[in-house]
Amino acid sequence: MKFCPAPTPRLRYWRNSTLHNRKTSRRNVISRAFTRSETYLFIILFVLVAVVSIISPRFFTARNALQILRTSAFTGILSIGFLFVLIQGGLDISFTATATVAQYLMALALVSKGNVPILVVLLIPIAVGMLLGSVNAVLIHRLKAPSIIVAIANLNIYYGVLQIISGGTWIYNFPDWFDRVGKGFVFAFVDENGATFGLSYLTLIWIAVAIVAVVVLRYTKLGRHLFALGGNIEAARRSGLSLFRLRLFAYSFLGLLAGLAGIVQALDTQTVAPNALVGREFDVVAAVVLGGANIFGGAGSVGGTLLGVLLITVITNALTLLRIPAYWHQVFIGAVVLASISVTSLRALLARRKERIIDVR
């Protein structure tokens, strides 16, 4: 079942149950784990890491692990935003354009001579992201059109307009502090070459976003309402939920995270190019879908999404470390994505076949 379960204060339930029930409950935990795609994804990732580590000892090192976490930050942050939109029943792939516009405006402020305060510099992309995200929400809500098509349209509008206005100029030579944050570590080690490595600030941002996302999705009414909206829109309407507000939240939250991802990417590369991000939507979509989120809404988890992001990064990373020619990388990624979504659908199909059981006398 692709589903982010409510956390289970199981103890209370057990208090009311007999010893016998208690046993079955515990068995349920295990059997239920095997109905979740996260479990399978974790196993796949585990096996992959094990196999690659055996073949290439360079893979399983703290440095490489931390590097993978740093590399994944950009996709990871976007994936969480995309997950929110997916859970409430939409598909918005305009986030790369949003991130580009947001980061570009930030970069302009960064290199402007007016000495814009740091806080403002960082708030610009976030505000721009939220604004563009809410434009999507308004259009999707008002026009009742498939969100993917509105998103495709807006992606092109945002991207096209930015390109026209910017003339495609790249922005670089940012202030020193920007470079220091990008290269900085929360904690660091020094290896035998004298190189420092550690937990990057970029990873920290990603982890923080993930924690916020878990809290929102599992422990807040807002989060549960998003699931409800994705599960049954008519029931959500009848329960008196404001569909518009929920949508506005989901799409502008994706916009916000797109802005944040724009900052992270600029920190990472120290270059802002208008054409650097558009076209990378599919990495994010693939990661979220691999993570077990339902493309039609109502189900998906932050944990699964993180695993999906890591799986894609690890595959790419491992392919190079395993010395496989770059020409074949895309074949592997495509095959893994296809295999994974097929298995998910197949399990759902088989589960449905088993239904409709009558207690025959």
């Binding site: 991207y159 096209g160 197949l346």
Partner: protein, 346 residues
């Protein structure tokens, strides 16, 4: 005479309300472009140019439309067309003898096209199997195969362009019969065949039923899985025909050729009245939408407008079409409810 025409138009209009605005839009776009370009738009040279550019876009849009009618989508049309084109190109280059005679040439070219069609069918079977029998959502299936097929093409070509097809093959993309480019004729024939399939073959009707309500269709004795399988095979074959045309027109094949056309095909389908929720769509609407968009792009290029402006304008047009459809739909919905209530009251 004129009255007859008006009457005919009125009846056509009533039967085709979803695309009835398109002829007007087409007229407006042509008029604006003609005037704005100072007449250059309508010069014979540009008309030829327009005719030459339409077929591949039209074929790819048809390839997008067929699954869209079943409430699906096929994101892999471009990459499957490229894989098909690359394999055909390798075949043509591999077996074409120097200075071959007419007969051999034709056999080899027909062989290459047949090979391309087989490749397309295989690629479509994978999509169709996953969508129809494994019930993977179409967006995901074709997203996966889009990555996979492009990867395979990349691995085969190692990134290089395969070019310099035999002269005889290039005729498909450049020669004319009765003033019409051969590939335009191919497109027109394919569009006609598709229109006939849609409206006059049981399979075509099944497509619409599956798009509207797959459960009720299955309860009516239709094998929905097989319909879906066929749908993606047909979509892939249409993309394959586009590959035949593109290979001839561009004289080369490459892993990432034409990637920018994917958005255009979705836009054309939407503008042409194909319902992305499935169940409705007309080839005539698609053709008109394609001409409109082609005219807009071409006109903007003639005016020297930057391509990013074109990108933004297309996006804006898509929003416009969605908004138009929404308000039109609301109008119908109001009418329908009114009718229904009136009936209940009787």
């Amino acid at each position: 005479m004129f009255a007859e025409f008006v009457k005919r138009y009125q009846s056509w209009h009533d039967r085709n309300q979803d695309i009835a605005a398109l002829p007007w839009l087409l007229f407006v776009v042509l008029a604006i472009m003609t005037v704005a370009t100072g007449g250059r738009f309508l010069r014979a040279h540009n008309i030829t140019n327009l005719l030459a550019q339409m077929p591949e876009l039209g074929l790819l849009s048809l390839a997008m439309m067929v699954p869209m009618v079943t409430a699906g989508i096929n994101l892999s049309i471009i990459s499957s067309a490229n894989l098909t084109a690359v394999i055909m190109a390798l075949f043509l280059k591999g077996v074409f003898p120097q200075g071959a005679g007419g007969g051999t040439t034709i056999i080899i070219i027909v062989g290459a096209i047949a090979l391309g069609m087989i490749v397309s069918i295989v690629l479509g079977l994978l999509n169709g199997f996953l969508v129809g029998y494994v019930e993977v959502p179409a967006v995901l299936t074709t997203l996966g195969t889009m990555i996979l097929y492009e990867g395979i093409t990349l691995a085969i070509t190692r990134g290089f362009v395969i070019s310099s097809m035999p002269e005889a093959y290039l005729l498909i993309g450049n020669a004319r019969i009765l003033g019409l480019p051969i590939h335009m004729i191919i497109f027109l024939v394919v569009a006609l065949v598709m229109a006939i399939i849609f409206h006059r073959r049981p399979y075509g009707r099944h497509l619409f039923f599956v798009g509207s309500n797959p459960t009720a269709t299955a309860y009516s004795g239709v094998n929905v899985r097989r319909v879906l399988l066929k749908t993606y095979v047909i979509s892939s074959v249409l993309a394959g025909i586009a590959a035949v045309v593109m290979l001839a027109r561009f004289n080369s094949a490459n892993a990432r050729q034409g990637s920018s056309l994917l958005l255009s095909t979705v836009l054309i389908c939407m503008l042409g009245g194909t319902d992305p929720f499935g169940g409705f769509g007309k080839v005539l609407g698609l053709v008109m939408a394609m001409v409109i968009l082609q005219a807009v792009t071409n006109g903007l290029n003639l005016l020297g407008v930057r391509s990013f402006a074109t990108v933004a304008i297309w996006g804006a047009m898509l929003v416009g079409v969605i908004a138009y459809r929404y308000y039109q739909h609301q109008k119908w919905e109001r009418k329908r409810k009114q009718l229904q209530r009136a009936r209940m009251q009787q």
